[in-house]
């Protein structure tokens, strides 16, 4: 399986993602933001970081960058595109996934482990995964997912919610919402489910010495689904 990770000048989780993808069997290529064409890939990843500094709305400049037009075309033709953290912010700015990401409710950067419940397994990302709840890691300042009521209705009607913040037993309640996201939404699909944006970083959970190993489950399952 071939993957490509886009490196923007301020990306800082690009290497971590490269390490993770390779660990689970992807042949990964790094793609520079000023490139025009994507290499032939089964999966394109927009990694975490601060793309162009994010002094403007997070991800907004990146969404207009050279390589992004190719990523958008790739996604629109059914290619798998996954945006993590800043990558999710870029995805909402391109409109590939609905909604926006606001500043965290308590106005603070937050870095910690969280639990998320998988809401939809009927897609190439989560199909066949044994667990319903994953322990993942978040590290962001703008992860407060917001959308209008109309949008939310459409999202729910199309089963576009991917994961929700919850507790270790899978309870989705405000108490376990780290950033104020609407309905505890931590990740969301496009209508066709080939594009996934999510705040948690599975690439930081791929080794028992790190924060945990549920990221390994995610990547192992992902590559098997793509085979």
């Amino acid at each position: 399986m071939k993957s490509a990770v886009i490196t923007f000048p301020g990306s800082n989780c690009d290497r971590d993602m490269d390490v993770a993808l390779k660990k689970f069997g992807f042949k990964n290529k790094m793609v520079w933001h000023q490139d025009v064409e994507l290499p032939k890939s089964d999966l394109v990843v927009l990694p975490g970081g601060f793309s162009y500094g994010d002094y403007l709305r997070c991800g907004s400049m990146a969404s207009k960058s050279k390589i992004m037009q190719s990523v958008i075309n790739f996604a629109n033709s059914g290619g798998m595109v996954m945006g993590i953290c800043n990558g999710f912010q870029i995805l909402v700015e391109t409109g590939l996934v609905p909604g926006v990401l606001l500043r965290n409710k308590y106005l603070e950067f937050i870095c910690k482990n969280v639990f998320v419940k998988i809401s939809n397994k009927n897609n190439a990302y989560f199909k066949n995964i044994n667990n319903n709840i994953l322990e993942l890691h978040i590290a962001h300042n703008e992860g407060n997912y917001f959308c209008t009521n109309d949008q939310l209705k459409k999202i729910e009607d199309n089963a576009q919610v991917a994961i929700n913040y919850c507790n270790n037993e899978g309870k989705i309640e405000e108490l376990f919402n780290p950033n104020g996201s609407v309905k505890n939404i931590a990740g969301i699909f496009n209508k066709e489910k080939n594009v996934l944006g999510m705040m948690p970083h599975p690439e930081r959970m791929i080794d028992p010495s790190l924060s945990g190993e549920d990221g390994s489950l995610f990547f192992k399952n992902l590559i098997n689904n793509l085979k």
């Binding site: 290497r15 390490v19 970081g49 162009y52 500094g53 910690k112 300042n141 790190l210």
Partner: protein, 730 residues
């Protein structure tokens, strides 16, 4: 503008110093030259009051590749890998503008590290605030934490450990010390020594603006009532540009085109160009019209003294300019050839075709003032006579709850959750432990780092306090299974012109020197911050020690959380019941006098090295050093982290339970071992003549002394974790 004595004094120079400048130049300096002298001769850049004493610190060791004098220290960790590290203060700017002050402190220290060719792999910080009752404290804390996070998070460097304290002596002068570790190949280290004639001098990074002009001079002055007026001297940080600068510099460093490189930190273009010339025994010629400026009509004076961030100065090999420029173009950074090296041994500046400065480099560096300041030796305070009946009537659990919720003991999760501590995917011990630990990417090795200070002990007796901080750093590294290698120090003190403050400095440095020499734990980098005072009141002497150690096989790393019910818990090291200057004495007894706990360097070394042997033999399940709050505080933290309890029994000592549990004797650790290993462990301890107490066994969820004296771990956890969050949201 014609320079005169008054203008010189306004620049922070003393009358004698101005006279000396005129003598050295054999004429009156012009305003640009005066600015350059004032920047190079202020305390922050010249170390004029501290140099004499810093010389006495041990700086060499088997693993030391580079000691003080470069952008940062470098130590060997084997396999052609080296760690570059340093700590630096950004105290004054952080008090005036906490967000930017702290952010640019973090940016500055990272630049010091990647200037040497190392990719930063871990950040730490030591931050000290006024009383929690003081009206400014909350906003300063919030601003500093946001600033540290804002910069480090954007750079993608994990912040893995730190220290926070509150003490009213910082009410008008907080401390923000930032530390960075970087990883470099031993044969790819870059230095700041220029070499060769007619080599191009290159300016890269951000453009130069009017921000931060005279920042270094501000850092060398005391605060008064007009401090708000100093806001324009605080630099503004741009972490995104620094990230670009980091990647561009590392890319350029892959080749062989750099002769010397130096970041523009304090005193900007002035100190960077002069340091490179001075180390290479060369001259430098700069055309200031070529310096990329952010604002119009900047004068030579402003260009030379600006402290705009995210800039570097490079001496390049001839003919490599185009290749280098391509890299900086790729990263969208300014690149300008602004001058060349010369054999004049002078710094010569040109602007609008006129020579605007012409100063022999040695007058700025070697001939800079050095003072043997007067200082007062501190007396060891008399021991307090504590009324045993008073303390023996105290209820241990009630005291413990108060201690755990004390601002200086409580969990700092509110702070470190705002720092990205897991980016780079190698953080194997997060903040909240004895040291932060990061793996050396792609290897079995890991590097441990901690930062410590004990201002109260240093204040009570600077010599003992200086020793203690080094020992505590040593212990924090050993507690995670790391072999201590070297330290960096950030020496925060009051005015060197005040004999008592100067005495605190001299004796703390002496203590640091004695301990680091004995423990073979040399000082490889550091920084001095004087004039931490408001009006005439100095802060408590606060040397911050950043320690670095190596874990050869990270599968042997130790954490402090209790692991398994029925395991046995030991105290390593002897408890004499030293209560003076303990947190217990200050908070519970309201007693501020008396000597700090004594340091026995033999025991310190022996206990630590024996524990390392036990760890190496896989006999230790968890470990934690005993510091503020004594044995029971350390035990409680291990219980809270591991979600386990303990059946405690006080050994049959002459001292009382309260003394035993809250004393702050030094050189001690708590360790957890399994029952089956107990004999082996005790044999090793006995063989090495290490004193130990058997403290108890681990249970499910209760800290239990006897049926009347017990508390659930959940309850203790509440006291420990809630305080800071509640404080910040109240």
């Amino acid at each position: 503008m014609i320079v005169n004595k008054k203008i010189a004094i306004d620049h922070g120079l003393k009358e004698d110093e101005y006279k000396k400048i005129c003598q050295l130049l054999k004429r009156t300096p012009n305003i640009t030259e005066l600015g350059i002298f004032s920047a190079m001769w202020n305390e922050h850049c010249s170390y004029k009051s501290s140099r004499l004493h810093l010389k006495k610190l041990p700086t060499k060791g088997k693993q030391v590749i580079q000691g003080p004098g470069e952008n940062a220290g470098v130590v060997d960790i084997g396999d052609n890998d080296a760690i570059v590290f340093k700590i630096e203060s950004h105290n004054h700017p952080s008090f005036i503008e906490p967000y930017q002050g702290a952010a640019t402190g973090v940016g500055g220290i990272m630049r010091d590290v990647f200037t040497m060719g190392a990719r930063p792999i871990a950040n730490l910080n030591s931050i000290h605030f006024g009383s929690t009752q003081h009206k400014k404290t909350k906003n300063l804390l919030r601003g500093v934490v946001h600033g540290i996070g804002g910069y480090g998070n954007c750079m993608g460097v994990p912040t893995v450990a730190g220290q926070t304290s509150f003490d009213s002596s910082y009410n008008g002068n907080i401390l923000v010390n930032a530390m960075t570790l970087g990883l470099v190949k031993k044969d790819k280290i870059f230095y700041s020594k220029a070499a060769g004639l007619d080599k191009p001098v290159i300016y890269v990074g951000s453009k130069t603006g009017r921000d931060g002009i005279h920042g270094a001079s501000m850092a060398s002055a005391s605060f008064d009532d007009k401090i708000e007026e100093k806001k324009p001297t605080v630099q503004v940080g741009d972490p995104f540009t620094e990230k670009l600068l980091l990647e561009a510099c590392l890319e350029l460093m892959e080749g062989d085109s750099i002769i010397a490189i130096q970041d523009m930190g304090a005193a900007g273009l002035t100190s960077s160009s002069i340091e490179m010339a001075s180390k290479g025994n060369l001259g430098i010629e700069i055309n200031l019209n070529k310096v990329p400026c952010r604002e119009t009509k900047m004068t030579p004076y402003e260009i030379m003294l600006s402290e705009s961030q995210e800039r570097m100065l490079i001496v390049l090999e001839n003919g490599k300019e185009d290749q280098a420029k391509k890299i900086f173009d790729k990263w969208n950074l300014d690149f300008a050839i602004i001058g060349k090296t010369t054999n004049s041994k002078k710094i010569e500046l040109f602007f609008d075709k006129e020579k605007v400065a012409d100063i022999p480099v040695n007058t700025l560096v070697e001939n800079s003032p050095m003072y043997d300041r007067k200082w007062k030796k501190a007396k060891l305070p008399k021991k307090n006579k504590i009324n045993k009946d008073d303390i023996n009537n105290l209820k241990i659990i009630e005291v413990l709850k108060k201690v755990l919720a004390n601002p200086n003991i409580c969990s700092k999760e509110w702070i470190w959750q705002q720092y990205d501590h897991t980016v780079m995917g190698d953080t194997i011990q997060k903040p909240g432990g004895d040291s932060g630990v990061v793996r050396v990417h792609g290897t079995n090795k890991a590097v441990a780092a901690s930062v410590d200070s004990s201002a109260v002990y240093c204040w009570a007796h600077p010599l003992t306090g200086g020793k203690q901080v080094v020992c505590e750093s040593f212990r924090n590294l050993i507690s995670v299974g790391a072999k201590p290698i070297a330290i960096t120090n950030c020496l925060n003190f009051g005015s060197p012109e005040n004999e008592e403050n100067m005495g605190e400095f001299v004796e703390c440095v002496q203590g640091i020197g004695e301990a680091s020499s004995y423990l073979k734990f040399p000082v490889v980098s550091g920084n001095v911050s004087f004039y931490n005072q408001t009006k005439d009141q100095g802060i408590k002497p606060t040397p911050s020690i950043g320690g670095v150690g190596l874990i050869k096989d990270y599968s042997k790393m130790i954490t402090m959380d209790f692991k398994e019910v029925d395991n046995v818990v030991l105290v390593i090291g002897k408890t004499e019941g030293h209560i003076d200057q303990s947190l217990f004495a200050r908070v519970i007894l309201n007693e501020k006098n008396g000597p700090p706990p004594e340091i026995n360097l033999f025991n310190e070394k022996n206990n630590g090295e024996t524990l390392l042997k036990l760890i190496d033999a896989n006999l230790i399940k968890s470990a934690h050093d005993i510091s503020l709050g004594g044995i029971i505080t350390a035990i409680s933290k291990m219980c809270i982290k591991g979600n386990k309890g303990i059946n405690l029994k006080k050994p049959k000592y002459l001292i009382s339970e309260i003394e035993y549990f809250f004393a702050e004797d030094q050189g001690r650790y708590i360790v957890e071992i399994s029952k089956k290993d107990q004999k082996k462990v005790l044999d090793i301890l006995n063989k090495n003549a290490v004193h130990y107490d058997e403290l108890g066994t681990i249970n499910e969820n209760m800290l239990l002394l006897n049926e009347k004296t017990k508390v659930t771990i959940d309850e203790l956890k509440g006291f420990n974790t809630r305080w800071l969050k509640d404080y910040m949201s109240s």
